[in-house]
Amino acid sequence: MTTFGWPEALFLLRAAGWTLLLTAIAFLIGSLIGGVFAIMRLSRIKLLRRIAATYILVIQSIPVLMVLFMSYYGLSLFGVELPPFLAASASLAIYVSAYLAEIWRGSIESVPFQQWEASASLAHSPAQTYRYVILPQAIRISLPPTVGFLVQLVKNTSIVSVVGFVELARAGQLVNNATFDSFRVFGLVALIYFAICFPLSRLSRHLEKVMNASRPH
């Protein structure tokens, strides 16, 4: 049995790096997919709206854990063996995309419809209306809830420990199994999560205040 010391603490910090990397990848890929679904959800074409709505509903209605099991264990039944990091990133990206799509759809919809009318009346195409008029306003509106969701994502990456990927939570379990010093080990794990999430929460709060203060009307 080893005791909990610097090497173990450093091991946890390195694992925190994986947590951050996983968060970043899931968020980036999830943003791209989520952005597309948000716009599809608001499309004039009914089929696109249906597809996006169904995707969002399905993904939001199943635990991210099941998506993870399906991509890791499920696919291996068909001979597709995803490495844990890939399965974890993909699953989390899917989860992120469904939530961001809804957050962003709401943000786009909260831009007053008169802005669409004014833009169209100035001979802008729908793409130009999005690019120059709607999205710049929608992004401002979406910032606080998006950063708020990012906090959830940091914590929810811990779920991928179940497929054996060693991120912060899993590293905590491993160190605990070796040292049995649960209080200090998980105390430090919690502290690291806090150190990541707390500034983000504050940022989200701050953005919310700034946005409210500068909102027109």
């Binding site: 001979a123 195409s125 306003q137 500068s214």
Partner: protein, 244 residues
């Protein structure tokens, strides 16, 4: 050929018919006021002219464009037909200058330097040169509306539509906007305006059209129409206006 030609336009929202066969022609350089009670169809009529509202039957032709719902044709039409709204609808994330330069830049590919000169010119026209770098939030309602007019003018429209542009303004701010519109009218702009400003309709508009229940109820040269309303509906409307 008239600048605006409207022939027997019908429009309904579901079972509710809001335009029951409206015909109207506006010559180049003319100013026409649409007046009437709320729900008389005057705003809807105006919005049909630049395709913001679709209509079920009839025909509208503006500045050589036939109005239908084809996206490409609508964009071409809207390069020639400006509209100013009751709620200004400036883009709040852009400065006054950017608000004005955006559309010429992206829809007509006007070079940056030329767009800048154009923006300064139209802003001077509405008397707000010093507000070029301000954001809409920092302007009064009257100033925002004048910027909205300048933004439309930067597209060099052949016809301008005004949809109750002073209704959201305090009385003391109404005057500055009406003054800008009067200047435009004197400069020869073809204008159609929906308005509750009876004095403005009487003094500035060549013709006034009184709409009632989705139809043109009475029309004529403004001074005559206000002096001698023929129908009891217009008589009542003018009288109610005078009491206000």
């Amino acid at each position: 050929m008239p600048a605006v030609l409207i022939e027997d336009v019908h429009k309904s929202y579901g079972p509710l018919e809001v335009l029951k066969g409206v015909s109207l022609s506006v010559e180049t350089g003319q100013v026409v006021a649409l007046i009437g009670r709320s729900g008389s169809g005057k705003s809807t009529m105006l919005r049909c002219i630049n395709g913001l509202e679709a209509f079920q039957s009839g025909r509208i032709e503006v500045a050589g464009h036939v109005v239908d719902q084809d996206p490409k044709r609508l964009r071409d039409l809207r390069k020639d037909v400006g509209i100013v709204f009751q709620s200004y609808n400036l883009f709040p994330h852009l400065t006054v200058g950017q608000n004005i330069m955006l559309s010429p830049r992206i829809t007509k590919k006007v070079p940056q330097a030329e767009a800048l000169a154009l923006a300064k010119e139209v802003l001077a026209q509405v008397g707000l040169s010093e507000k070029f770098d301000s954001y809409p939030d920092n302007l009064s309602g009257g100033q925002q509306q004048r910027v909205a007019i300048a933004r439309s003018l930067a597209m060099k429209p052949k016809v301008m539509l005004f949809d109750e542009v002073t209704s959201a303004l305090d009385p003391e701010l109404t005057g500055e906007v009406l003054l800008v519109m009067e200047k435009l009218a004197k400069g020869g702009m073809t204008m159609i305006l929906v308005t509750h400003e009876m004095a403005f309709a009487r003094n500035v508009a060549n013709n006034t059209i009184f709409m009632h229940q989705g139809k043109i109820w009475e029309e004529g040269p403004s001074k005559e129409l206000f002096a001698n309303p023929r129908t009891p509906e217009l008589q009542g409307f003018v009288k109610a206006g005078a009491r206000e």
